[in-house]
Symmetry: C2
C-alpha cells in the first residue's frame, strides 16, 4: 500500500522503529472519518490485535502527533481526539455540535480564510514578535439533528 510506504519512510534512519502498533493506528485513522479518542482506538484495535496495551496507544499517538502524521484535537470534553493528517489534503476546520458532540469537517471558504489568516499572521509577527506555526478555527453550535 502506498501510504504504508510513506509512513515507513518517515521512520527510516530515525531513532524510532517501525512497529506493528504504529502501522495499526495509522491504518485505522487513515481509513475513518471519525475523530477517535485513545480509548476508542484501543477498543477498535483490540479486536484485530489482542494483547495490545492502552499505554502503547497513548505513547504512539503522542509520537505520531509530534511527527505530524496525526492531529490531536481537543473539543473541551476532558479528553483528546485524534485524526489522520494527510500530507496532500489542505487543512480543514471543525464544526462541533455542543449538544451531541458530533464533529463535522469542513474546508469551505479556505481560500478566503487562508488569505485573511496570512494577513493576520504577518501582523502578529510584527506587533507581538510572535512566530505563527499553526492555527485552529472551529465553530460551535447545533447540528442538523440537534437544532
Amino acid at each position: 500500500m502506498v501510504l504504508a510506504h510513506m509512513w515507513r519512510h518517515r521512520f527510516k534512519g530515525d531513532v524510532f522503529r517501525w512497529t506493528l502498533t504504529r502501522k495499526a493506528i495509522l491504518d485505522l485513522l487513515s481509513s475513518t472519518l471519525k475523530h477517535m479518542s485513545a480509548q476508542e482506538i484501543y477498543d477498535t484495535l483490540l479486536k484485530s490485535y489482542p494483547g495490545i496495551g492502552l499505554s502503547t496507544i497513548y505513547r504512539n499517538l503522542d509520537l505520531l502527533s509530534r511527527m505530524g502524521l496525526v492531529n490531536r484535537l481537543n473539543i473541551g470534553e476532558g479528553k483528546s481526539r485524534y485524526e489522520y493528517r494527510s500530507s496532500e489534503e489542505k487543512a480543514h476546520h471543525h464544526l462541533i455540535c455542543t449538544n451531541c458532540g458530533k464533529i463535522i469537517d469542513y474546508s469551505d471558504f479556505l481560500d478566503e480564510e487562508l488569505d485573511l489568516v496570512g494577513k493576520i499572521e504577518k501582523k502578529l509577527a510584527r506587533k507581538y514578535n510572535f512566530i505563527v506555526k499553526d492555527h485552529n478555527i472551529d465553530f460551535c453550535g447545533l447540528c442538523k439533528d440537534c437544532r
Copy 2:
C-alpha cells in the same frame, strides 16, 4: 462597584444565589489579564478567603461559564483555564506559545474576521444545516521570548 451590580442582577430572580465565592471568583477574573486554572484561582483566593474549597471553585466556574460570565478555554494542557467575559468588549482570540504556554489576547483584524466569519456561518447553515453559536480562532507558535 458597577460590575458587582451587574453580576448580582444576573442572579436576581434565578434559582441561583449570589454568594461570596461567586463574587470572589468574578472579582479575581475581572481584574487580571491572566488565563487562570481552577487550581490557580483556588490558591489565590485561599489567601483572602481561608477555608474556601477547591470543589466549590470548580462548581462555580462551571456555573459562571454556563451563565456566560466566564469563558472556559482549553489549550491542550490537560486542564481548563478561565477568563472573565466582559459584556462590552468585543470577543478576542488567542496566541498560544507552544514552548512556554503563554497566552496572548489579541483582537486585531476583528472587523475582517467578523466579516468572513459571518459569511462562513451563513454558508455552513445552508450546507450542513448547522446553527453556529460561537467560534474559536487561535494561533499556535513561538512567543518573543521563545522564538
